[in-house]
Amino acid sequence: MALISHQSGLLTLIIICGAVLFMIYRARQGLESEVRRVAGIDVIDEAIGRSTEMGRPVHITNGLATLYSSGAPQTIAGLSVLSYVAKKCAQNGIPLITTIYVPETIPIVMEMYREASVLAESPEWFDDYNIRYMSSHRFSYATGVQGVLQREKPAASFLMGSFMAEALIFAESGYLAGAMQVAGTAATSQIPFFVAVCDYTLLGDELYAAGAYLSQDAVQMASIAGQDVGKYLAMILLLVGLILSAMGSDWLVNILKL
């Protein structure tokens, strides 16, 4: 017993991973899962299109979470969006400015730019002066992003990743610059500001789903269906727990504490 801590957590993790793996297996067999399209995805295309028409650059930033912290999934999901946006921008031949807080993403972003320019067969699109490290101090980063938004007037700005208070600085500065903005974050405390200011916001889990959608890969889409199993599990646990607790029983709570 004492060998394993958080047994209920481990069991839940196994169930969720099992569900995701099962859905991936199904997809490999050719059985596609129907998955709702998140509206924000279309808005991303629209914003890039608008930039192209106006001949103005696109801006993207991926927030504060380092790759080795528990916020890493948000940064990885944000980078998937970046990869997609880079390819589109290279195809359309408009510059993409990436502002960076997490320095270990610099080599990754460089590689994504290179890949985008190769796919679009326009080597001249690759310009690594558009990949701008703005320091790993929050408000230095914020001033840098503000400067880019104010002076280079991007017509589209994507804020995808984990943010803190500077989220609103970016969103308002982007608004002042006249950019169409799409944001995505799992940081609950900042979602309200994105919802209030940006043209579209990927709420929490939708950010993770976005990466899989944009990959257009059936296997990745299947994993989204898999993660829904965990949500059904949560709903069942909540419902049963509510009823039991209202009847005065702590049975479920005690099990979940194991």
Partner: protein, 205 residues
Amino acid sequence: MADIIVEIGIWVAAAYTLMIYSYPYKDTPLFKFAEHTMIGLGIAITTIMGIRNILDIAVGSIVNKGEIAWIVPILLGLALFTRYSRQYAWLSRWPLALLVGVGIGVSMGSSVDASFLAQIRSTVTGVNTLNKALLGIMIIITITYFIFSIGKEQREKGAFKYTSQLGRYVMMLCFGALFGNTIMTRMALFIGRMNFLLFEWLKLG
């Protein structure tokens, strides 16, 4: 002498404060100057910290304690620089793989237990008031908004259509509340800055 240095410091601080506040007015060189100062200092401070970490922790442990294993992160760290070469760029994937492995592992390990189950536990403990029951029901309703794998018909006609719309309403109440609640904290910070400008700098008090 010391007083003069402090006084100059207060004037410099006040000047920078006004430069930053010039941002919404229009594109001024003042903000640009403050911005470049801030980026320069921000990078300097974190770089110093980074170099100290490398020297004190890694190199220090090898030299002073003979802990040879620290050579591994140093080599991996150096491998990041191969991104600037065409021939050896593949090497830069290894350190990134290590960092991502740690990040993914840490988040997968703890999140199910510390976020998922903890939230459920605290919701279903001691449900003895109407509000607590309502809280639980609202959570269930809101989760339905996040269900992605639902067939088209159900999404357009079935119960999920209504619950996910209700879920959005609950979220809007929440976002409004968080927004409104943050205003006081932001005002408090601004009041702090105004106290500095009015009383420490202009000495109006």
